[in-house]
Every structure is written in C-alpha cells, then in structure tokens.
C-alpha cells in the first residue's frame, strides 16, 4: 500500500489507510474518495525555491513525474538545491536517486511548494551514502493548504558514513514526510531532526525508521513541534538495533507544544533493541505553554505576544541551531519566525 502504487494504478484501494498500523494517524484512503487526474504540464517560469541561491547546482521542477538522478564524488562540500513545486492541481509522482560515492560530501537542500489548488503529490527518494561519505539534507516543505503530499526517503549508509537531516514543515491538508535509514556498515552516524509549526487544519506526519545493523553506530534525533488551531502533528520514530549491532548509541527526543484545545499531537516513539551492549534513550514531552516562564518575561517588560514569540522561537530554535550549513540555517530561522508570526 502506497500513494505511488495508487497513483500508478489509479486505484484508491491501494492507498494507505488507518488499517495499516504505520498509517493509522495519516489515513489517505479515508480522505481521498477519488484520485485527481494527472497534473497538466506546467507552462511559464518555474519557481526556484528558497535554496537556489545557496547551491552549486540548483534544480527545480514543477509537477514532477520524471526521475531525478544526482551522483556525486566530490570530497569538497557540494551543494545541490532540489525544488519540487506543485502548481495547478492534479496528481503526480516522482522519484529521485541520490548517490554519494565513497568519501563524497553533499549538501542536499530540498524544498517543496504548492499553490492552493487540490493536488496530490508523491516523491520517493533513494539515497545511498558510500563509506565515509557525508550528506547533510535539509527539507523545507511548504505545501499548499489543500495538498495531499507524501515524501518518502530510503537512505542507506556505508561504513563510517554520516547523515545529518532536518525537516521543516508547516503541514498540508494531509502530509507525511518519512525517512527510513539503514546502517548496514559499521560506525555510521545519523542526526535526524525535524520541526513542525502547524496552524488552521493542517496535518503533518514525521515518520522515521532507523535500523542499526552494524556496530558502533550513533543516532541523535530531535523533533520539536508547535500546533495551534485545529492542526494535528504526528510523530512516529522507530529505532531498531539489530542483533550484533553492538555499541550503538541512539537517542530520540520529541517535544511539542499544544497552543489550542482543538489541536492534536499523536506520538509513537519506539526503541526495538536486539543487541546487548547498547545505549538507547528516548524522551517525549507534550504540553501547554510554560505560563511561569511567560510571566517572568512579561515582568521584565515584554508584552505577552513578544514573550510568547521569544519563548516559542527558542523552543523550535534548538532544532534549527543544529543545522550545520550556514545559509540553510538562516533560511530555516526566517521560516520559523514567519511560521510563528514574528
């Protein structure tokens, strides 16, 4: 069951539904009675996205259905901006293949945008990082309010390879950004972060699966979210430490603020450990605004809206500060400030 399969066969019964355990909070089958027809070819000047100016290689596509292939062997950091726009409605599904050779260093600045039309967009990425290679991947998802959008990345890390990822999203009508990472080699390290800022009736689902299959792997995961109005945030994080993946160090944190009675967070952190000598931890907190901290800031002279803005920005800022690429971090800061209405 996948959106890609349903679009390919034009068959709604192939959509993931709440009967699928991993999709129970992001039911597509129940949402879509019919699949929209394929998107029309786009005519006009294509938007380049927020990262084009930072890239050695900017790529931008509209209503993508052709595969994108990127291969890099550059040991010096090479920046690719990959922008997917959905314009004029309809449905489309694309694939991207990203291959880093041994020792390659790639910064992938990925972004999605859409207009207010009803559209269904699917993107499947296959990413492989060769031994001792390094990928920093930033995803800024700015889908339209009526969009149904799914992005799924399968990442394979070679021995000693590194992945540092940050997802930034403000959701869609229904949106899922899923990352599946396998460390078959030894000594791979993963940072897997996300921030979601949701308002109105938007929905964002951040799902991750990390499988430690080799020894000496590390995973550091931090997701932070803010939901208001009637929005809904979903976090599903699973870390699997396979038998023999000794000396794995895996830490997962998900922390969210609920700013309205009608907003919702669903969180499922899972650690499945089949090895002996490992360190694993997870923390999950969901709560309302800290009124004591708010009063403290007000007592110092900040009006309530300024105080709330400062404290919320700081809450999400922890994720953004972990972005290593300077330009992308600045884009992320501006995105957070805008999303928080600052």
């Amino acid at each position: 069951m996948s959106l890609a399969a349903a679009l390919k066969a034009s068959d709604v019964t192939l959509l993931p539904s709440k009967r699928d355990e991993d999709w129970k909070w992001t039911d597509l089958r129940g949402l879509l009675r019919v699949l929209p027809p394929p998107s029309q070819p786009f005519v006009g000047e294509a938007p380049v996205g927020p990262f084009a100016g930072l890239a050695n290689l900017p790529i931008h596509v509209v209503n993508a259905s052709d595969p994108v292939v990127i291969r890099s062997a550059s040991a010096a950091p090479y920046v690719v901006a990959l922008h997917f726009a959905a314009l004029g409605g309809g449905s489309h599904s694309a694939t991207a293949q990203i291959e880093l050779a041994e020792g390659a260093n790639l910064i992938l600045l990925e972004s999605y945008e859409g207009d207010d039309a009803d559209y269904v967009a699917n993107l499947d990425l296959k990413i492989s990082v060769g031994a001792n290679g390094r990928l920093e991947r930033i995803i800024l998802a700015a889908d339209g309010v009526n969009a149904v959008s799914v992005s799924t990345a399968d990442v394979t890390l070679g021995a000693g390879a590194q992945l540092a990822q940050t997802v930034l999203t403000d959701g869609a009508r229904r949106q899922r950004i899923e990352t599946r990472v396998a460390h078959p080699g030894a000594g791979a390290s993963v940072r897997l972060d996300a921030a979601y800022l949701l308002a109105d009736k938007r929905h964002a689902d951040l799902t991750t699966v990390v499988e430690h299959q080799g020894v000496d792997g590390t995973t550091s995961q931090l997701t932070k979210g803010v939901v208001r109005d009637q929005s809904r945030g979903v976090f599903q994080g699973r870390i699997v430490v396979a038998e023999g993946a000794d000396r794995t160090d895996a830490r997962m944190g998900h922390h969210a603020l609920i700013l309205s009675d009608k907003a919702e967070i669903d969180a499922k952190p899972e650690l499945l450990i089949f090895a002996d000598d490992v360190q694993c931890a997870h923390g999950n907190t969901i709560g309302a605004f800290d009124e004591d901290a708010l009063f403290y800031a007000q007592q110092r002279g900040m009006p309530e809206d300024v105080a709330r803005g400062l404290l919320t920005e700081a809450f999400v800022g922890e994720v953004i500060d972990r972005i290593e690429h300077d330009g992308a971090r600045e884009v992320a800061k501006a995105w957070a400030a805008k999303g928080l209405g600052l």
């Binding site: 403290y296 007592q299 002279g301 009006p303 105080a307 404290l311 800022g317 922890e318």
Partner: protein
Amino acid sequence: MLSISNLHAEIDGKPILKGLTLDVPAGEVHAIMGPNGAGKSTLSYVLTGRQGYEVTEGTATLDGEDLLSLDPSERAARGVFLSFQYPLEIPGVPALTFIRTAMNAQRKARSEAEITAPEFLKLARTTAASLKIDFEMLKRALNVGFSGGEKKRMEIFQMAMLSPRFLILDETDSGLDIDALKIVADGVNAMRSPDRAMLVITHYQRLLDYIKPDRVHVLAGGRIAESGGPELAHELEREGYDKYARAA
C-alpha cells in the same frame, strides 16, 4: 512612590491579603518580614500582576498611577521590577538576548528609541564586571544549569541593566553563601537613590545586615501587623513570629 491601601487579594477564592496598607516613599528601603504563608510572595505577585492573583478590594498606585489595571509588561515599563524568589530557566534564549528584548520592549512602551547593539554590550560588560559575573555566562541560555546563587546574581544583573524605579526583592538571600550575598547586596545598594524605592521581602534578618532598611514591616495574617525602624528586624530575629501567628 508606592502606595497600597486596604489591599485584599485571593488565589482560587482563598483570601491571602486581607486589608494591607503600606506606603513606601521615594528614596526609602522598606523590609517586609513575616512567617511563612503570611502572604509575602503573594504581595510581590499582586504588585506585578501575575495571573491567578485576584484583587478583590483596595488600591495600589505608583506615583499616583493605578498599577492594578495595568498588565505585567506595562507595570515593568513604568519601572516595577521583581527579583524572583525562584528565577525561571529560559531554555534556548541567551541571557543577553532576553534582557535586550525586555529592555527594548520597555523602551518602546515608553516611546523611547531602542538601545543600539554596541551601547547594550558596553552596558552589559560594565554591569557584569561590577557584579563579578563572567561575561561568557551571559551568552548561555538564561538560568539554564545555573546554581541557585548564580540565578540570584542574574536577577540583580537584570535589575541593574533595566534600571527600574521600584524594586521588589523576594527572598533574594535564599540560596546565597556569604560571599555571593555581599556581591548581591552591593549591587542592590548601588541602586539606592533619592528617586527609587525598594521593598525587600525576607524571612530572615540576615539580608538586612547588608541592605539596611529605613522601615521594617511585619506581614502576618494578610496585613501589616507591626511597623518600626531597623531595630524591629533584630527583635524578630530574637523572638520569632509566634506572637503574630497567634494574633492572625
């Protein structure tokens, strides 16, 4: 300066202040002492406008202006500063960012120009030096991982930076060793001036050896049970609060 008359306040419907009357003229330091649960901290929160503390009767004015109708940030902009008994930790916000945001918000409320970055840093450096605060500490998230003594010192630092007109110190001595207490007291004493006033809330007389009050008031049973000169603090230290507890 501060004038409180027949103040009644309650929390969750439970009366805490029951007709408190107090005048603190400009240039003076008044101490509020009293047994635990007498309403000392409630008084500080009512004066600063914390949510959940409901005033049911009475008035509180600063230089004739009604404080109770203002929101907490408006009171701060008019110069009311509370040094918290338990300062909050603010993750993700460097101390300097927090104070500069507060300072500029106050200035904006008073229709003054924002402080420039170089001016602010210069002021922060000299103020930190006078309070023996490591400047590097000000780049860290405010109060996160700070010891109790460091947090109290940060309160005095914020006070010195914001330069308020009416200072409320709530149990500022708790958690301080004697060296830190001297630094904090020096910082507070440096702010004494003819156009400022202070309310020093304390359970123990010790702090008043370092911050000498002009007047001492005993708060018991939600009102001022007795007022006197500095000698009253020594008397309380010797005899305790028993007689007021009985009276309440």
